[in-house]
Amino acid sequence: MNAGGEVVLDLQKVSLSFGGVKALTEISFDVREREIRAIIGPNGAGKSSMLNVINGVYRPQQGEIVLRGQRFTRMTPYKAARAGMSRTFQNIALFRGMSVLDNIMAGRNLRIASNLFQQAIWWGPARREELAHRERVEQIIDFLEIQHVRKTPVGRLPYGLQKRVDLGRALAMEPSILLLDEPMAGMNVEEKQDMCRFILDVNDQLGTTIVLIEHDMGVVMDISDRVVVLDYGRKIGDGIPDDVRANPEVISAYLGATH
C-alpha cells in the first residue's frame, strides 16, 4: 500500500450533463502518486463518464482538472496523452485490422521523432527509431505474456487476450497515470487473476498511478488503496476500502436501504 504520495490528479467540482440528464454532479476527488484508486458504483452511476472526463473524451460543463499542478478546464485526449495519461476501454477499442505488435507499437506514437520523409526512405533515422521502439514493445509483450500472438491480427484473438493487448497499448505510452475502464469485465476467474497480477505489477514495478473502474467488489477491495463510490452521478463515499465497506450510504446504494 502506497497511499501516502502527493496528489497528482485533482478533480474539482466536476459536473457533466447530456442535455437534461445529469451524468455527474459536482464531483471532487484526488489521486495520489503511486496509488491504486478505484471508482465503483452501480450501473449508470457515472463511472465511465468520470473516466472520460479525466482524459478529455467528454468535456464537463463545470469543474476543473488539476494535473500535477497544471489546471485544465478544457482537457482533450491529446493533451491528456501528452501529460502522461493513458487508458484502456471497457468495450475493447483496439485497432482491429492491425497485428498485436502494430497495436502496441501505435502506443509509442508520441515518442516517434522521425518525419514522414524519413519514414518513406526507411534507412536511417526512421529504421533506428523503429528498432528501438520495437525493443521496448517486446518487453511489454513479454510482461503481458502474449509472445505467441504478436503477429496475429487482434480481431482474431479471444476476448481475454484482447484485453491484455489493450493494456499493452496503454503501457507502451509509458504513462505516469493509467486509467483502466473495467479491465476485468467479462473475464473468468483465471483471467481476472492474471489481470490483477498485471495491474499490481505495473503499479509496483513501474510506479504507475492507477485509476480503475471495476464491478467485481472482491477485486476492488483487494487491490485498491482508496475507493470513490458514485451513485446517480453523485459521490457518496470516499476512503480506504474498509471505511467504504462500512459506509451506510454505500451499503444502501448497493443493497437497497432497509426501511
Binding site: A80, R82, M105, A106, N109, Q119, W122, A126, R134, A170
Partner: protein, 358 residues
Amino acid sequence: MLYRENGQFKTTYAADQQTFPIAQDRWAILAILAFAFLGVPLFVDEYLLRAILIPFLILSLAALGVNILVGYCGQITLGAGAFMAVGAYAAYNFHIRIEGLPLLLTLLFGGVAAALVGIVFGIPSLRVRGLYLAVATLAAQFLTDWVFLRVPWFTNYSSSGSVSVANLQILGWQIAEPIDKYLFCLSWLTVFALLAKNMTRCAAGRQWMAIRDMDVAAEVIGIRPMVAKLSAFAVSSFFVGIAGALWGFVHLASWEPAAFSVDRSFQLLFMVIIGGLGSIMGSFFGAAFIVVLPIALNQFLPALGRLLGVTVSTAGVAHAELIVFGVLIVFFLIKEPHGLARLWSTGKEKLRLWPFPH
C-alpha cells in the same frame, strides 16, 4: 514445399523488421523486378506496351495513392480523377512556364501541387465521414473538371482546349518510343511502391490505420486526427498527382480534361476495392484486373462466339464486355470482399503449411 519460413530464424529485430521478412518473398520480388526491367523489353510488341503495360503501370501508381487514403486511412474518396488532373495540368504549366525545368522536377512539382489541393479537399474529412465525405470529394472532381475546361490560363489559352507536350528527355535519354516510356513509368512505380511500403509499415502507416480502425482510441494514444487524415490526403494526392502527370505526359502526350473525368475516379476506387483495401500488393492486382480484363474480354468474346457459331457484332462485343465485367466485379465482391490481396495472402498461408492442412 518451396514457400517455407522454416529454418529462417531471426536473431535481431532488424532482421524481423525488413521490408520482406521471408526470403522467398525477397527473391520473388527481385526476380519480378529483373524480369520487368530486363526481360519484358526483349519480347513485347508496341500494342502490348501502349494498350496494356503503360496504362497498367501508371494506374497502379494512382491506385497505390488511392489505397493509402481509402485502404489505410479509411477516408473514402471519389476525387482521385481530380487529383490526377491537378497533377497533369500543374506539371504542364510548370513545363511550359519555366524554361528548362528538368522533367523529373516537373513531374514532382505536379505531384506537390496535387498534394496541396488534396490537403484542401481533405479538410472536410475532419468533420464528415463515409458517404458524406465521398460527396465532398466528388466536389473536387466537378470543380477541377470545370476549372480546366473554363479557365484558359491553365491550358495556356489553347484554342481547342487540349494541351500537349513533346520532346521529353532526362539527361539526354529521349522518352519517345513505347519501350522508353515503359521503362520510365516502371522506374517511377518501383520507387514509389517502395516509398509507400515503407510509410505504411512505419509510424505513419500505424497512425493512418489507427484512425481507420478506431478514431477515439487513436486520439487517446496521442494521434491527432487532423495530422493523420491530412497527411494521408497529402501523400495520397501526391501519388495520384504524379500518376496523373505521367498519364498526361507519357501515356497520352496530348490530352483534355475528359481524360480525368469522374469515370477515372470510380475506376480507381474499384481498383483498390477489388485489389484489396489496405494492401500495397492489392493495388497492383486491382490495376491489373481493371486494365487487363476488358482487353482480354474483348479478344476472348468474339472467339467464344465463333466457337458457338454465333457472329457477334462489334457493338455486341462492347456491350457484352461491360456486362461480363460488371458480373465479375459483383462476383468477386461477394466471394472475397477483402479483395484479391486477401486471396493472395490466404494462398500464401496455405503454401506455407503445404502439404499439411494445419
